[in-house]
């Protein structure tokens, strides 16, 4: 499957592409609100048997009689809007197993959230739900032949009436279970029905994707999985998959972070090995893609890995219009364009915070040790220009002296440096030394604090980089940085050759990171540059990176550098290879080669590789409901019947949009010797109430539950696990992790009930909570009811913030504060992330990272 090799997944700054609603054009939409007529209409439109209508009407009656829950998160906004919710929306399209049959816009939506066309070939089963209807189902023939049923719930009602009648909202989740189940019973639509026959072990996960599109939408899908005796299945609910899109990430520091997280992943344990064997042995063509704009790297990917792509319109001309679409390497042509998103985040800065180590003796805090002093440096053009000078010509000697080395003739710049230092820091004293031999002038500032401040930008020319805060600075300030840098390290090449005049701007550096950061900043300033590297090992020198600006790109750059460039060249308008819009840069493909591989371990590749890709990944989200300001409601229902010795693993990563109330109910009945495994990631939605429950009804049944909840600003994640031990020798484990950030509230609300009959049972519950930001809240309500004495119960919980020691440790090793925090969080959630299939764990990491973005300061 299309897993990229030696690739680093990058995050996208912007959630908007997932939150966008497609133009909504349904075939049938129930009027807002809920009454008997709506329920009858739903049932009629589905041609349901009478018993199902009866069930729906019972549900409706109960719903009308029952009050809203009075515990847990505040649902008042939802209750206010409840009559506006459209309880049933049927898209125009009909269900199909043929991807091409889907209407264009719906197909686009799915491609956006990551079900590329290619997947139907290699995945065993995929179902896709759009609003309330399943539109697309596919099951590999291999499993079909063995009698595995994987279909739409609506179809199952007609096709397998006896089985559905027996299992649908009866013994597992009865329709009177709670308020939102009553609602679900009356308006449920779509969802998945899976039946695994005796002793069939489905090795590849079955997956379903859900998306809500209508404003005031309601999604009420019903999932019913019956694993017959001795069978095994892994079901994944709603999600992106291997189709992790590849695109450019603007901040190399982040890419580096992600790579290190992946290192953590790969360097660890057994999970990796088995999951990887299952997921990532690839046989087929492997493509190597080179492109203009960055000659320092190649991308190596499998043939079906989708990229954001623009077809070339005319062979010799650059495109005039840029409409990116997803495409796969096997269809790539030389000259077509790869797309790199431009970092759009701009922070308004008044000051920039630096932490400067100061000896306590010096600051009067005592006689020993050091403490950190927060230095707020004004974000003014002079400071940025000075940083530019430092990146090019600066150095720090003995830890106390800040030097700038110029050519003797660059008097103007020498004076500018002095003036900048005076303006920004008020430091007037400096020394000048002259080297006759190499015509150098050295300006030295003897100021320990200054030296320590500039060490944030790297000591030693190959370690130079731009401090991350400055990467998001306003454009006018970044122009000053480029100006200073160019004055030091840049040159203007302008020579008349026989073939014509050759003209370009160049900036040279031996720091790879700086070169890439510079390229990104230039993109923000509307300039596409190209990156070359020259290996100078033979000369005994370090590799040199050159950022070049040529063609039409020279005009805007000339304005920054203060060199006027004519708008024509050799009598013609300046041309250029690259495309540029506000959001993207486009790089033409230089070369594509392919080679066939057999059982290629795609993920082991390149983790140790030192390349950082300009072509990184566009994050692909799962279960994403588009943004509306009004409330949306997801009240799904999942019933798992794990029969004797069967095994179901149910994974879900839920990332609904922020206006969604995710009030989902999940329950499993586990019979003798059966195993159920719940893996949950809750990241999106404004308010979640989700407590997957296992009823251990047969001797020796087991339940393992792993959960992660992330409550960002304004979110309320009320999650937990319930286990009811009703038979002897049953065992359960619950591991719950939560992160609360800013005003987010995360709550673990769990229940472990051991009935008198459940002798010799074992329970272990572990909850850990991490608090980030002063206003964050974390609650833990672990209830335990123990009804016999032959049990072994352990519960542990911890709550805390990220330790300053940990942050200090990582920062002292050269990470920025933000990077350090992200790394600690990544470590915190690792046990959960490890349990997910690899592509999901990468995705979860990315989502968390996206949410963690800018959590410092």
């Amino acid at each position: 499957m299309g897993l990229p090799i030696m690739n680093e997944f990058a995050s996208v700054e912007d959630r908007s592409m997932y939150d966008e609603a497609n133009e909504h054009d349904p075939a049938f939409e129930a009027p807002p609100g809920l009454n008997e007529e709506v329920v009858r209409t739903i049932s009629k439109s589905k041609n349901e048997p009478a018993w199902m209508l009866e069930k729906r009407l019972q549900g409706l009656k109960l719903w009308q009689e029952t009050g809203f829950p009075k515990w847990g998160p505040d649902l008042s906004a939802l209750i206010k809007d409840i009559d506006k919710i459209k309880f049933f929306v049927q898209p125009k399209a009909k269900e199909t197993t043929n991807w091409e049959d889907l209407p264009e816009d719906i197909r686009k939506t799915y491609e956006k959230i990551g079900i590329p066309e290619a997947e139907k070939k290699s995945l065993s089963g995929v179902g896709a739900q759009y609003d309330s209807e399943i539109l697309y189902h596919n099951l590999k023939k291999e499993w079909e032949d063995q009698g595995v049923v994987f279909t739409n719930m609506d179809v199952a009602v007609k096709k397998y009436p006896e089985i559905v009648k027996k299992y649908f909202m009866t013994s597992c989740i009865p329709i009177n279970d709670h308020k939102f189940i009553m609602l679900h019973a009356s308006v449920w639509s779509g969802g998945t029905f899976i039946m695994i026959p005796k002793n069939v072990k489905v090795r590849i996960p079955l997956q379903a994707y859900f998306r809500m599109n209508a404003e005031f939408g309601g999604q009420f899908e019903h999932t019913l999985i019956i694993a017959d005796e001795g069978s095994e299945v892994h079901y994944i609910e709603g999600c992106f998959t291997e189709g992790n899109m590849v695109t450019t990430n603007p901040d190399y520091k982040k890419i580096k972070d992600i790579r290190e997280e992946e290192k953590v992943l790969t360097s660890e344990g057994d999970f990796k090995k088995t999951e990887q064997m299952q997921q990532s042995l690839y046989s087929g063509d492997l493509y190597t893609i080179e492109f203009y704009g960055d000659s320092t790297q190649k991308i190596e990917v499998t043939e079906e890995h989708p990229f954001l792509y623009v077809d070339r319109k005319r062979k010799s001309d650059r495109n005039k219009e840029w409409n990116p679409r997803w495409n796969m390497p096997k269809f790539f042509k030389k000259g077509d364009y790869l797309t790199a998103p431009i970092n759009a985040r701009t922070d308004t800065l008044e000051t920039i915070k630096f932490y400067i180590k100061r000896s306590n003796a010096h600051t009067g805090k005592g006689t020993r040790g050091f403490s950190y002093w927060e230095w707020n440096v004004p974000a003014i053009p002079e400071f940025f220009r000075l940083v530019g000078y430092y990146l090019a010509e600066g150095s720090i000697s003995s830890g106390h002296y800040l030097n700038f080395s110029f050519n003797m003739n660059e008097r103007e710049y020498i004076e500018d440096v002095k003036q900048c230092v005076q303006k920004v820091f008020g430091v007037t004293k400096s020394l000048e030394t002259h080297h006759k031999k190499n015509n150098g002038t050295n300006v030295v500032f003897c100021d320990t604090d200054l030296a320590r401040l500039f060490s944030h930008f790297g000591k030693g020319c190959d370690k130079k980089h731009i401090y991350s805060t400055l990467m998001y600075a306003p454009k006018d300030l970044q122009r000053e940085l480029i100006k200073g840098w160019f004055r030091g390290d840049g040159n203007y090449y302008n020579k008349q050759h026989k073939s014509g005049r050759k003209e370009l701007f160049r900036i040279n550096t031996v720091s790879e990171k700086l070169a890439r950061q510079g390229k990104d900043i230039l993109l923000r300033l509307g300039i596409v540059s190209f990156l070359n590297a020259r290996d100078r090992a033979k000369e005994g020198r370090r590799k040199m990176y050159t950022l070049g600006i040529s063609g039409d790109q020279m005009i805007p750059f000339g304005e920054i550098a203060g060199i006027s460039v004519s708008s024509t060249m050799n009598g013609k308008k300046r041309a250029g290879k690259f495309g540029l819009t506000e959001k993207f840069a486009f790089y033409p493909i230089k070369k594509i080669t392919k080679r066939a591989v057999e059982n290629h371990p795609v993920y082991n590749f390149g983790v140790d590789d030192d390349h950082t890709y300009t072509v990184g990944g566009v994050a692909v989200h799962n279960c994403s409901a588009p943004s509306y300001n009004s409330s949306a409601l997801h009240a799904g229902c999942v019933e798992l019947h794990v029969l004797k010795n069967a095994r179901i693993r149910y994974s879900s990563v839920e990332n609904w949009s922020r206006n969604t109330y995710n009030l989902n109910t999940k329950r499993a009945i586990v019979h003798e010797g059966g195993v159920v495994e719940w893996i949950n990631g809750n990241i999106g939605s404004g308010c979640t109430m989700l407590y997957p429950c296992s009823v251990l009804a047969g001797r020796g049944a087991r339940s393992d539950s792993l959960g992660i909840a992330f409550a960002g600003d304004g979110q309320n994640q009320d999650t937990g696990s319930k286990v009811i031990h009703a038979a002897p020798e049953t065992s359960s484990t619950i591991t719950a992790k939560s992160i609360s950030k800013d005003s987010g509230i995360s709550t673990y609300r769990g229940l472990v009930k051991v009935m008198p009959a459940a002798v010799n049972s074992k329970v272990s519950v572990e909850c850990d909570a991490l608090l980030i930001g002063e206003d964050s809240t974390s609650n833990t309500y672990p209830q335990m009811e123990i009804g016999n004495n032959k049990v072994d119960i352990a519960h542990e919980a911890t709550v805390g913030k990220i330790g300053t020691d940990e942050i200090f440790y990582l920062m002292s090793r050269g990470l920025s504060e933000e990077e350090a925090r992200q790394m600690v969080v990544a470590g915190f959630i690792e046990p959960i992330v490890k349990a997910l299939p690899l592509e999901y764990s990468v995705e979860l990491n990315k989502l968390i990272e996206l949410e963690m973005e800018g959590s410092v300061g």
Binding site: V765, L771, N788
Partner: protein, 273 residues
């Protein structure tokens, strides 16, 4: 017992409105043991002055309430035993004040203990033992509410359940947004010695700021097989061995009461004999 009917002090807002009969105990200087014996329907109000160290021993009956106000830097140890009825205890701690509760609950009883750490540096410890036997039903609620910064609390509870007894333990650590730099811990261990005994345990946490260190733990189970084996291999019969283990399990907490725990120990021995 120094009983003063009127004391001029402003009681904090979180103080419950007085109800029923009221006794005010005003402790102005260090005292060894002050006996508190509230009767049914009584509300005892205790005021401990600044810098005063005092030990209380409570033995009450019926339904009663004890409210304690600890002024700055007061240091209180409060031993209690609850065998019947319903006891409600509340302590309000001002700056650097500390309270050390040790409670033994056996019989059918209901206990609710709340420590309100109102100011900087306040410290509260709650240690308790519960013994359920016969058809006793008890319920213990312990709350630590941190409102002051750098306040610390610790809850350690141990329960042994025999016969058809039913127990319910609910612990809560609540850290308010303004209470920075707090440390809070709670631990609840239960030995279930009878197949018909029932125990519910809910150690809750409500944390509203990031600058905290908090943890809680619960364990429920039988007597450790290895410990039992140790005794058996030394020729001690099983029944006696279990008794010794239970005694040891409780002693770690009751030792804190020093000589005041003697009576309680005797009672417990009788029950488990």
């Amino acid at each position: 017992m120094d009983v003063v009917q009127e004391v001029e002090t402003t009681f904090p807002d979180v103080w419950e409105k007085p109800s029923g009969k009221e006794v005010v105990v005003h402790v102005q200087e260090n005292s060894d043991v002050v006996l508190v014996s509230p009767s049914d329907g009584e509300r005892v109000t205790i005021l401990v002055d600044k810098n005063v160290e005092v030990v209380f021993f409570e033995e009450g009956s019926g339904t009663y309430t004890v409210d304690i106000l600890c002024k700055d830097n007061a240091n209180v140890r409060y031993y209690s035993k609850t065998t019947t009825g319903s006891a409600k205890r509340f302590c309000y701690l001002e700056r650097d004040a500390s309270i050390f509760w040790i409670d033994a609950t056996y019989g059918t009883a209901k206990v609710a203990v709340t420590s309100y750490l109102a100011d900087k540096g306040a410290d509260a410890e709650f240690h308790s033992v519960f013994l359920g036997s016969g058809s006793h039903t008890f319920s213990v609620t312990s709350k630590m509410i941190h409102a002051g910064s750098h306040s610390t609390s610790n809850m350690v509870s141990r329960a042994v359940m025999l016969g058809k007894s039913k127990g319910n333990y609910e612990g809560l650590i609540r850290i308010l947004p303004e209470a920075k730099g707090c440390d809070a811990y709670q631990k609840e261990d239960t030995l279930l010695l009878s197949p018909e005994a029932h125990m519910d345990a809910t150690p809750n946490l409500e944390i509203s700021n990031e600058d905290v260190r908090c943890s809680h733990g619960v364990s429920l189970g039988q007597v450790d097989d290895e410990k039992l084996f140790y005794f058996l291999s030394r020729g001690i019969p099983k029944k006696e061995a279990v008794q010794l283990i239970v005694q040891g399990f409780f002693d770690e907490i009751l030792d804190g009461m020093q000589e005041h725990g003697t009576g309680i120990r005797k009672d417990i021995l009788q029950v488990i004999a």
